[in-house]
């Protein structure tokens, strides 16, 4: 590793870095704007100037941009040299010429990188006497607020939005000091990753619109380390709360998972926790359907009483924590515990787990995904099923560019040079899905097929890699498979992505087969495999249950047979898991339906006893992400009203019942421990984060910033006495500003702040560049529960299905997932609700012709018996295979549809689109 000299001090730095990275890694304060660790250097802002000396005798040196200067052995620099300091001050002075002095009302104030840098360079007095340029602002949709006058033209926004995230509707306009960053015309930003602009922009041009309307400064936000619950990727987040309300979600850096970026569902979808439809008190329902509030103790007694029976069952939830599910299983017994998946999904999630547990491939985290140089996607529309992965794949396809760059001796941070060099050359990405996808623009080839045909393509690829090319007689398929196989074989790090979202096991099996074929070719490093599941703890649920666990239909059968008296439903709206009539049948045949959930939904409405569950921001819990990473979220604030963590209700109930299993369990950590002890797959969850006894150099970790203000005043309308801050016995975090927020494990980082660095850029004070990955000093958050096994015999050999044949007069239902609308909770966030389009069916033009329908018409979907399941609006989409119908998943209007079933379609008479306008699934939207 090279040694460089900075202001007379020798430092050992990482090879391949630039001077700015090196300085920041060394903890030195060097201001910058346009550079971003994920986006590299372009040298636009000229803020990171340092003086470089040619040799020891060189007294003058010359100014160079640190971000554009590679580290070289023996190079001499000065940060503090007068020349550099004056120049850096001049840059801020120049940037401030047109900048409004609106910090007091700016939504970036207090966490503004420009403010920090202005103070850092010492610029104070304004010499410029001219007028300021002004711009008009654009409406950019419900998520992002635009205030162009604050722009300092660092180009980060368009570099992020276009170059990094693949957006196309934001651009730099005009020239000289008239540069304008905006859309061609006003309108909703199209990218699903637009929200990151909030954190990427170093000033207040792009701000979090929901936050702007409910403003709180960063220093007044109370935060805790959290995990996004909007899908199974498990991005790390830092929610901020004030006045008992969640104000915003910021990214929480995790080098292996989300890095610096979140998707918009994750960032803006968490606002459901503030919903007016929250359940705040326990209650029981009387015969006439009225809901009577109970106090906690009464409710617990009722629950314990109802649970004191052998005719009991429990339905867990893939969106609830491992701990809550474990306690429910303990309460009802493993044989009576259904994990809470639909009948279609349950075997698929189990298959996803089995494949990953037995695969000799490396189970990919996002950092791995970004290292892949040839990718095959089988079935998943990643942008809509695991959004953050789509952003990662946009980086993977750039590996070709980095390869070309390396040949020329360019470092990976030389962003524009690499883009120039590579132009449109990309690493191959093959996408086989049921319809078009948002990654098609970077795909080498895309195949839009029926699910079984995707599987056949996968099996053909596998056979081809394994050298058994003669499989089936479909020449066209073989040719396609051959190309894909060749690309995967030639790659240094091939990646196969599949998952449960198509509702088809064969295509998942084909993915396993392809991966195994690659593994058998003895690739080093190991080929990568990624299996996408639907919810934040889907995989944890699969790990908790044994094979052939009880399913929903098993329970319905038992209930109908009169064998069930009590059913406990944990954080699960069953109407999303099965056909309405089946769920009705289940619930109507049970006397005591006890539902623990936080937000009103139809299952809750059908309960006899309801217990208000704290949401992710009010409780602690462990979630297992799709890559098998156990991660913990912590309460950001204490639950409002009588809401309690689900695990809390269940533990209290078990204690009330005097059950042996919980005699040793006193706190949250004990549940985690017990669960780990009893389930070998989950044995690693105890290390997902330190336990409650952890102290950071002797003290707890504060949830509040040093400058947290108004602790007395904020409650002055209730009482002028400042209440004692709540004590947190369950975690190493404190509801207080006292404590130490520095260098702790990544799983315990509530927010980032460092002296002089109020913005999120302070993150680099928590990172170390050792190993070149900007890892957190305290280590990466979470524990991987899945490791590559080297036992390739473990993997079963699967059979390729028969080719899909369109049935006359019938169509196969293929799921089309929507980032806004398909998941249960984010649609209750008002900003996200505005982005949800009405439910639809998609068919290709020739099928539409057969049906005699056009875009915007309605179609009735009927089962074989002629019963009408629903009516939906038609959207013609030629990417849908003939004989298939795409339908938007997770909407009320589509809840009665099952992936893979064949239905009879007919044009709906007298249909008007308004019928399907109610976009949001079960429960009421609070738009």
């Amino acid at each position: 590793m090279p040694i460089i000299q900075i202001d007379g001090q020798e430092h050992e730095v990482d090879t391949g870095q630039n001077i700015l990275q090196a300085c920041l890694s060394l903890g030195l304060d060097l201001p910058y704007f346009c550079w971003h660790p994920s986006m590299g250097s372009v040298g636009a802002c000229r803020q990171c100037a340092v003086v470089q000396y040619q040799h020891a005798e060189d007294e003058h040196g010359r100014i160079v941009m640190a971000c554009m200067t590679p580290v070289t052995e023996g190079a001499l620099f000065s940060l503090t040299g007068d020349k550099a300091q004056r120049f850096r001050e001049g840059i801020v002075e120049a940037l401030m010429l047109n900048h409004p002095h609106d910090c007091p009302v700016c939504a970036e104030g207090g966490e503004c990188h420009l403010q920090d840098m202005t103070v850092m360079v010492g610029h104070r007095d304004r010499k410029y006497r001219g007028k300021k340029n002004t711009h008009h602002n654009q409406y950019l949709g419900p998520l992002i607020h635009h205030e162009m006058n604050r722009c300092i033209t660092c180009y980060r926004c368009t570099r992020y939005y276009n170059d990094y995230a693949g957006g196309t509707d934001l651009a730099a306009m005009a020239a000289h000091d008239h540069i304008y960053f905006g859309r061609h015309e006003e309108g909703v930003l199209e990218s699903e990753f637009a929200g990151n602009l909030v954190e990427v922009c170093p000033t207040g041009v792009f701000t979090d619109k929901p936050l702007v309307h409910e403003y709180t400064r960063k220093w007044d936000l109370q935060s805790a380390p959290s995990i996004c619950t909007s899908c199974a990727v498990g991005c790390n987040t830092s929610p901020g709360e004030r006045y008992g309300k969640l104000k915003r979600i910021h990214n929480r850096f995790n080098a292996d998972v989300n890095g610096y970026f979140l998707c918009d569902r994750g960032r803006f979808g968490a606002n459901f926790v503030n919903s007016v439809n929250n359940l705040n008190y326990p209650g029981s329902r009387t015969e006439d359907g009225r809901f009577n509030a109970l106090d906690q103790q009464q409710a617990l007694l009722k629950m314990a009483e109802a649970c004191d029976t052998n005719n009991i069952a429990g339905i867990g939830s893939p969106r609830a924590s491992v701990e809550a599910n474990y306690l429910l299983r303990t309460l009802v017994g493993a044989d009576n515990f259904a994990p809470g998946f639909s009948d279609v999904e349950q075997p698929l999630v189990e298959l996803a787990l089995t494949i990953q547990q037995s695969s000799s491939a490396m189970i990919a985290d996002i950092k791995n995904i970004e290292s892949a140089d040839a990718i095959l996607i089988l079935g998943e529309d990643v942008t809509n099923t695991a959004p953050r992965i789509a952003l990662a794949l946009r980086q993977s396809v750039r590996n070709k560019a980095y390869e070309l760059a390396a040949d020329l001796g360019l470092e990976s941070w030389q962003d524009s040079a690499i883009r120039t060099l590579a132009q449109n050359q990309r690493s191959p990405l093959f996408i086989a899905t049921v319809g078009d996808s948002r990654l098609d623009d970077v795909a080498e080839e895309r195949f839009n097929l029926a699910p079984d045909d995707i599987a056949r393509l996968g099996f053909a690829v596998a056979a081809n890699i394994a050298g058994e090319a003669n499989l089936g007689s479909d020449d066209e398929l073989q040719q396609k498979a051959k190309n894909i196989a060749k690309a995967l074989k030639n790659a240094k790090r091939p990646l196969i992505i599949s998952g449960t979202s198509c509702g088809n096991s064969a295509l998942m099996e084909s993915a396993a087969q392809v991966t195994q074929a690659l593994c058998n070719a003895d690739k080093q490093p190991l080929p990568l495999l990624s299996m996408i599941v639907a919810e934040a703890n889907s995989l944890g649920q699969a790990m908790l249950i044994s094979d052939n666990a009880v399913s929903l239909s098993d329970l319905t059968a038992r209930a109908c047979a009169g064998a069930l008296e009590t059913l406990v439903v944990l954080e699960n709206d069953l109407y999303r898991r099965g056909k309405e009539k089946d769920i009705n049948e289940l619930l109507e045949n049970i006397t005591n339906v006890i539902v623990i959930d936080g937000l009103d939904n139809r299952t809750l409405s059908a309960s006899s006893l309801a217990l208000p569950a704290a949401n992710f921001a009010e409780s602690e819990g462990t979630l297992v992400s799709m890559e098998g990473r156990a991660q913990r979220h912590y309460p950001v604030y204490l639950p409002n009203a009588q809401r309690r963590a689900s695990w809390h209700w269940l533990l209290a109930c078990l204690k009330q019942m005097g059950r042996d299993e919980v005699t040793e369990i006193e706190c949250f950590d004990d549940i985690t421990q017990a669960c780990a002890t009893q389930n070998s797959s989950l044995s690693g969850i105890t290390t997902a984060a330190p336990n409650h006894q952890f102290r950071n150099i002797g003290v707890k970790i504060p949830r509040q910033t040093h400058r947290y203000s108004g602790r007395t005043a904020m409650r002055a309308d209730i009482s002028v006495h400042e209440p004692k801050q709540p004590v947190d016995k369950e975690t190493p975090l404190a509801f207080s500003m006292e404590g130490l927020n520095r260098s702790q494990p990544g799983s315990l980082l509530p927010f980032v702040w460092a002296p002089g660095w109020n913005s999120n850029q302070s993150l680099h004070k928590f990172q170390s560049e050792v190993g070149g990955q900007l890892k957190l000093k305290g280590g990466t958050a979470g524990t991987r529960l899945l490791q590559a096994t080297d036992n390739s015999n473990n993997i079963a050999l699967f059979e390729s299905p028969a080719a899909f044949k369109a049935l006359k007069g019938q169509w196969q239902m293929v799921p089309r997932h929507k980032i806004y609308g398909s998941d249960e909770l984010s649609v209750h966030s008002p900003a996200i609700a505005k982005l949800v389009r009405p439910a639809f069916v998609e068919i290709n033009a020739s099928d539409a012709k057969k049906l005699g329908v056009n875009d915007g018409d309605g179609v009735d979907l009927n089962d074989n018996k002629g019963d009408k399941l629903t009516t939906l609006e038609v959207s013609i989409n030629d990417s849908i295979a003939t004989g298939c119908v795409g339908y938007s998943v997770g909407f009320i209007a589509t809840e009665n549809l099952l992936a893979g079933e064949s239905l009879v379609l007919s044009k709906a008479e007298n249909w008007s689109p308004s019928e399907s306008q109610q976009a949001v699934s079960s429960g009421v939207s609070d738009v």
Partner: protein
Amino acid sequence: MNVSIPTLLSDTEITEIDAEVAHLPTPAAAAIDALKIVQEHRGWVSDGSIKAIAKHLNMSAAELDGIATFYSMIFRKPVGNKVILLCDSISCWIKDCDGLQKKITQQLGIKAGETTADNEYTLIPVTCLGACDKAPVLMVGDDLHENIDEKYLQALFSNRPVEDE
């Protein structure tokens, strides 16, 4: 002016644009050529034209607009039938191009960036026209006019009624 600008590309425009696309690696690479072709036919590049060209070149309207607004010789606002490009760079400035500009303003009733009421002329001050030895100079449409003095100017726009401001 109220001439409606078509939002679809004409066949001629498409043919001309495609001829440029033919020798470029991607359609989007012909962005500037396409903007110029459309401007040639329509006088300027409207929002609708931006959308139409972007669609034809398989690129986003935002990206194309970013390009269009960068270049000074792409007009994103309507201009008159003829554009007067008045050199305001140094050699012409020495020869009082500022005074010349005032005279044009007097004679045609338009300031920099404005178009005459009859939509005949738009006045745009531009960078050195590369005829510094003949300063001051201006172009009307494609024609360069050198060594402009008051008399020359009078003659140049002699068919013009003098407008009051």
